[in-house]
């Protein structure tokens, strides 16, 4: 059942990305290109997503526990530390270079584009590099627990 729920949520999430045009690298880069002919789409996507998620999460927080799990796994980290800032900065550079963040990148695998396959492969290598780096360091830097 949790697998069916995850698949269904992936479908709804993917439909949202597709309908809003966020699978299109040129539309995303058009939003990030504040000096060009600016495309405000991504801001409207964020607004729609935040309205629904904000209200829904507020409801979920009042509920005792999720239907299919022992508890809600809310993120518990609060620190604004170096890993957060450096990681976000590096992610932004990669996003700006290509116009794909992880969700749209995975969804675009369905197009069979060799470039997208190589991009997703590089994302996985980057994640693996982070994993090896943090586990091999004598004192792993804080900030490994994922918020999302």
């Amino acid at each position: 059942m949790p697998i069916l729920v995850a698949f269904g949520c992936g479908l709804i999430f993917g439909a949202g990305l597709l309908i809003s045009g966020m699978t299109d690298t040129q539309k995303v880069l058009g939003f990030l290109d504040v000096l060009g002919s600016w495309d405000p789409s991504l801001a409207f996507v964020m607004a729609g997503a935040l309205a629904v998620t904000g209200a829904g999460y507020a409801l979920a927080r009042r509920g005792a526990k999720p239907m299919l799990a022992a508890r809600h796994l809310w993120p518990d980290k609060r620190d604004i530390d170096r890993p957060l800032l450096v990681g976000a900065a590096l992610f932004g550079i990669g996003w700006g270079l290509v116009g794909l963040c992880p969700g749209p990148a995975l969804e675009n695998l369905a197009t069979g584009s060799a470039q997208v396959i190589v991009f997703v492969g590089a994302v996985l290598v980057g994640m693996l590099a982070h994993q090896l780096w943090t586990t091999s360091a004598a004192a792993p830097p804080a900030g490994e627990a994922a918020d999302g």
Partner: protein, 140 residues
């Protein structure tokens, strides 16, 4: 590229939000795609199947759309070197920074997490600077 359409952008965003809310209410999970994907490399085997199912759902959408005669076009992509560099930065950066556009930008901000608000401002800023350099040669 399709012209700006505020209605479909809002509707698409609302669906993304709905997916995030359902995943939390039913399974107790945050719908952050970099976290879902990255967990495949770090989580115990028992915690992997739902992650694969979520990703399968994402990939299934354009395939279903194609069945209805609306195939997703291959995205415009930069040269190979930029693709590889961008992918490495996205992979490493989202793990080191604990999230991406969905995890911090949607789920974290919805929880009014200052951490996620700061992260979102930082990656939006460096992304915009990167596009300015690439497209307009500012400072580059």
């Amino acid at each position: 590229m399709a012209a700006f359409d505020p209605a479909s952008a809002l509707l698409g965003g609302a669906l993304i939000g709905l997916a995030a809310v359902l995943l939390m209410m039913l399974s107790g999970r945050i719908a952050g795609v970099s976290g879902v994907l990255g967990g495949l490399l770090t989580a115990p085997a028992s915690d992997r199947s739902w992650r694969i199912a979520f990703i399968a759902g994402l990939i299934a959408v354009p395939l279903i759309a194609a069945l209805f005669g609306r195939p997703l076009a291959k995205p415009v992509m930069p040269g190979w070197l930029v693709i590889v560099a961008g992918g490495l930065l996205v992979g490493f950066g989202t793990r080191y920074g604990s999230g991406c556009t969905s995890g911090h930008g949607v789920c974290g901000i919805s929880l009014l997490s200052l951490r996620s608000i700061v992260a979102t401002c930082v990656f939006m800023a460096t992304a915009a600077i990167t596009v300015a350099v690439v497209r307009h040669g500012i400072g580059g």
